[in-house]
Structures are given as structure tokens and as C-alpha cells.
């Protein structure tokens, strides 16, 4: 096995692991033993005989768990006693090894997502992504495209000790919070959807996230952010 291929495999193993952890943290159905795969096992599954990993084989699909479905379902209201379908569905993760990712690659990916009726598509690019390619993301709605670079996923940022725990609130919890503090949602502090942790959790505009920090005086301290 070549030195270069081994290094590439190690890098991709980390990226792949972080991506799976990210999906677990968002609430998709995945077992822990599917995440904690050793490097040797990873190489056995995804590497070719020359030692280089095959990104095509690494793609995977996950279903949302019941808890996640409940979180994304609108609470019934007197006017709409029947809540609509949950605003979440299967996720498809693809790894792309191209040097530069342009409109074409992302369009193909969006087309595939649409064809297979996935709700969310996560595109992980090895190279750089052209700025105009990112512009097509809003044009393929309602399918949700998320684009990550491999370098962003080498380590799991939420495991860092300085990153507090972020918990997404469901619509019901959000309504309760606003009622309890007698706020309008625009009066909450905000978080950008481009924030690294917001990207990790796949926050959408209008969602509220609860941030639990350690506090020397109070033990734990919760604050809330409105994603914009």
C-alpha cells in the first residue's frame, strides 16, 4: 500500500466518521457500531487494492428517527388539528473527489436527490467549491442541499471543550419558550445559519436552538438563539 494512499484513507476515515456522528447528532437512525469503525475495517470496506479509498462507495442514506420526526412535525393547532407531514426525510450523503466543484456537479447531485425523493442531500467535496455553484442551492428548494468541505469535517467541532451543547427545539418547545418569557421570536438573540455549529446541526431559518453552557456560579446556564 502506498504512503500517499494510506494518508488519504486516514483523512477520509476521519471525515466519514465525523459525517456519521453529525447525522447521529441530528437525530438520524444510526447505530453506534456503525460509527465507531476502526481504520482497518474502513480500509477493508472502502479502499481499493492500491490503497486509495473509493469515494463513490462511501455514500450512504439514513432515515430520520421517530424522535426527529416528532421534532420536525408542526404541533396541532385549533385551526389545523391535523399536523402536516414532518419537515424532514431521508438524508443522502455523497463524497466527491473532484479538484473543483462547479455548478455541473452540484446540479447532478441535486437531480439525483430529487429523483430518489430524498429530503436532504449532504455533499462533501474534496476540492474547492466555486462561488456560483453555491448560488444554486436556493434554486433547488424544497430539496435541501448542504455542502461541506472535507477539511471542515476532519475533526468533530462539537467535541471541543469550548463548544457548548446545542439542542434544537421543536416548534412546540419554541412556542412554550416564547410564551414563558413573553417574547416575540425576533426578540431572541440570533445565530447565523452559516455558523459552524449551525451548519453541523443543519439549522434552518426560524428554528431556535438551546445552548447549554457550563457556568461557575450557576452550574449550567441555558441561552437560546434564533437561527437566521
Amino acid at each position: 500500500m502506498s504512503e500517499e494512499g494510506g494518508r488519504e484513507a486516514l483523512k477520509l476515515w476521519r471525515v466519514w466518521r465525523t459525517t456519521r456522528q453529525m447525522c447521529r447528532d441530528r437525530g438520524y437512525e444510526i447505530m453506534d457500531n456503525e460509527i465507531d469503525v476502526s481504520l482497518d475495517e474502513f480500509k477493508h470496506h472502502y479502499c481499493e487494492s492500491n490503497g486509495y479509498p473509493d469515494r463513490k462507495r462511501m455514500a450512504f442514506t439514513l432515515r430520520p428517527s421517530d424522535a426527529m420526526m416528532a421534532k420536525y412535525t408542526d404541533p396541532p393547532t385549533p385551526r389545523h388539528p391535523e399536523p402536516g407531514p414532518p419537515a424532514i426525510g431521508t438524508v443522502f450523503v455523497e463524497f466527491n473527489g473532484d479538484e473543483t466543484v462547479g455548478i455541473k456537479q452540484l446540479r447532478t447531485f441535486a437531480h439525483y436527490i430529487d429523483e430518489q425523493h430524498h429530503y436532504t442531500g449532504i455533499f462533501i467535496a474534496a476540492g474547492k467549491i466555486s462561488p456560483s455553484a453555491l448560488k444554486i442551492i436556493p434554486t433547488v428548494l424544497p430539496a435541501i442541499l448542504e455542502v461541506f468541505k472535507e477539511d471542515e469535517l476532519l475533526v468533530n467541532i462539537t467535541m471541543h471543550e469550548l463548544v457548548p451543547k446545542h439542542v434544537l427545539l421543536s416548534k412546540e418547545e419554541k412556542a412554550k419558550l416564547l410564551e414563558r418569557y413573553r417574547l416575540k421570536e425576533s426578540q431572541l438573540p440570533r445565530i447565523q445559519t452559516t455558523d459552524p455549529v449551525a451548519k453541523y446541526l443543519g439549522l434552518r431559518r426560524g428554528q431556535v436552538v438551546k445552548i447549554i453552557r457550563k457556568s461557575e456560579t450557576a452550574g449550567r446556564y441555558a441561552s437560546y438563539r434564533w437561527a437566521i
Binding site: 473543483t100 466543484v101 462547479g102 455548478i103 466555486s130 456560483s132
Partner: protein, 289 residues
């Protein structure tokens, strides 16, 4: 007696129809709507540019197309698509075509040049028309399939309107011309043609007075402000030197005198001895305060 209500009179009682609209509210609403429409217009223009960019990735229509002689249909399509572009949009088109492994010029079907050699920079040898050799980043060279295509693409870029499409008024603006057929002729045409043979004297005079008049107009000079046609004649006269120049410090009587001289100048630091007494007195007074 009927008890008097202590509640405020409600403004929208059931029997009255819709309350009269405050003129100021109406104005605010109008302003908000105006700005919202402007933003919508901008978004529409951006979406249109993105669509045009994607369409330009598909050009040219046939893989055998020749960038020097593009087909009629392609040219019409190219021109109509490129009109709303700003130069920066054009740059992203080039980048996008590079990502799609195509030459940066939208009417060229060939893949860009690829160098197997590593390294960041490349030396471009000087060409026959007199341009000197240059050192350019490799990534810039690998955008194009050939030097000609680079020239053609940049010829389009310089014609693009700097103004964003959503603020442009009055239709589509200027027509964009392409460098087609004879690229050599097209780009030498803009240059002034200089004839080697000197023109007859009276013709020169006439030409110059015309040029000077045009220049005066451009500068905003009035015909009354002096004579704009008169040229200043410049005669460079050499100053007569009487003796050979001497380095400072090496002449005069202080030549060898002091070490403190700076290029022959001796700063006066010492005070005349008579003044010493008075200075002392001043010092005492200073301390006394």
C-alpha cells in the same frame, strides 16, 4: 341613571367600516413596498444571470465548433446571454467552465491546456509581435486552450458593462462584438496606423492644428485663454562649468581642522566665554522657583 363606562372608547367599533388610513402609514407602506420591489428586481436579475451562466456552460452547441468561426446561432445566443453580465460574473463563468473542464472562452469546445509539470509559475515566451516574455501563474494559463482564445475571451470581458444589471436603464445597452474571422485584423484595427513615409509639411501643420483644437476642447480650454496652438519650445542648455567640481569638505581652510565638521560645516556649539556668567545666574533663578 345609566352607569358611565370607565373603559376607553374602542377605536374600531363594530358598526364603523374600515378606519381611515393615516396618510403617513400609507406613505410608509409605499416606501416599504418600493424597496421590497427593488430587492425583488435585484434577486430576479441575479437569478437570470445564474441561468445565463448555466446556459453558457453548454456552449458551443457542437463539439466541432471553431472558436475563430462560431456558428451564427451560437453567436446570437452568446450575445443575448452575456449582456446582463458584469465583468465579475464573467470571471465566475470562466471559473465555472474551468471546473467543467472546458476552455474559458464560451464559444470554444476544446478542453483547456494541461501541464503535467508541477510548479506554480510558468514562463511565457515573448511572441513575434514584440510582447516580452512574462512569468505568469500556472493556474491562469490552464484556463484557456490557446493564447488566441484567451485574447478572444478578454476582448468580450472589456466590453461588459460595469454597472449591475438591475440598476441599468434604457434596455440592453451597447452591443457586444466578438473577435471573429481574422483575430489579427480585429485587434490591430484599433491601433493607430503609422505610415513610415513623412507627410508633406502643410498637411502636418493642418493635422497638428486639428489635433491641438481637439485637445483644447478635451481640456476645456477656451479659445480666448492664450494661444492653445502655440507649442513651447524647449532648449536644454548645459551650464558652463568653470572648474571641476570638488567634493564638499575637501576644500577650504577647515579641511583638516576638526573632527566634528559635517561635510565641511562645523556646528556652532560653544557659547562665547563672556556669556557664561549670565547663564549661571539664570540657572540659579530657575532652581529658586
Amino acid at each position: 341613571m345609566k352607569p358611565k363606562s370607565i373603559l376607553k372608547k374602542s377605536t374600531n367599533s363594530s358598526n364603523s367600516s374600515s378606519p381611515p388610513v393615516n396618510p403617513r402609514d400609507q406613505r410608509n407602506l409605499d416606501i416599504a413596498l418600493h424597496h421590497a420591489r427593488l430587492i425583488q428586481q435585484q434577486k430576479d436579475a441575479e437569478a437570470q444571470i445564474l441561468e445565463a451562466l448555466e446556459a453558457l456552460l453548454e456552449l458551443p452547441s457542437s463539439p466541432q465548433a471553431d472558436p475563430a468561426h462560431p456558428s451564427e446561432g451560437d453567436v446570437v445566443q452568446f450575445k443575448s446571454l452575456i449582456t446582463p453580465f458584469q465583468p465579475s460574473d464573467y470571471d465566475s463563468l470562466i471559473e465555472e467552465r474551468h471546473a467543467a473542464d472546458l476552455c474559458g472562452y464560451a464559444l470554444c469546445p476544446r478542453p483547456p491546456k494541461k501541464d503535467k509539470l508541477g510548479g506554480k509559475m510558468r514562463i511565457v515566451p515573448g511572441s513575434s509581435d514584440g510582447s516580452p516574455a512574462r512569468i505568469v501563474p500556472r493556474s491562469q494559463l490552464e484556463i484557456w486552450c490557446s493564447e488566441d482564445c484567451a485574447r478572444r475571451a478578454l476582448y468580450v470581458k472589456v466590453q461588459l458593462n460595469e454597472e449591475p444589471a438591475w440598476t441599468r436603464r434604457g434596455g440592453l445597452g451597447t452591443d457586444i462584438s466578438l473577435m471573429v474571422d481574422q483575430p489579427e485584423a480585429a485587434h490591430t484595427m484599433a491601433l493607430p496606423i503609422r505610415s513610415k513615409k513623412p507627410l508633406p509639411e502643410d498637411l502636418v501643420q493642418e493635422n497638428m492644428s486639428q489635433d491641438m483644437a481637439a485637445l483644447a476642447l478635451e481640456r476645456g480650454e477656451k479659445p480666448t485663454s492664450g494661444n492653445p496652438f502655440r507649442l513651447l519650445s524647449s532648449d536644454v542648455a548645459e551650464k558652463m562649468s568653470v572648474k571641476p567640481p570638488v567634493a564638499p569638505g575637501s576644500h577650504g581652510k577647515n579641511d583638516t581642522s576638526t573632527h566634528s565638521a559635517i561635510e565641511g560645516y562645523e556646528p556652532k556649539t560653544g557659547k562665547p566665554p563672556i556669556a557664561n556668567h549670565k547663564v549661571d545666574e539664570d540657572d540659579d533663578q530657575d532652581w529658586g522657583i
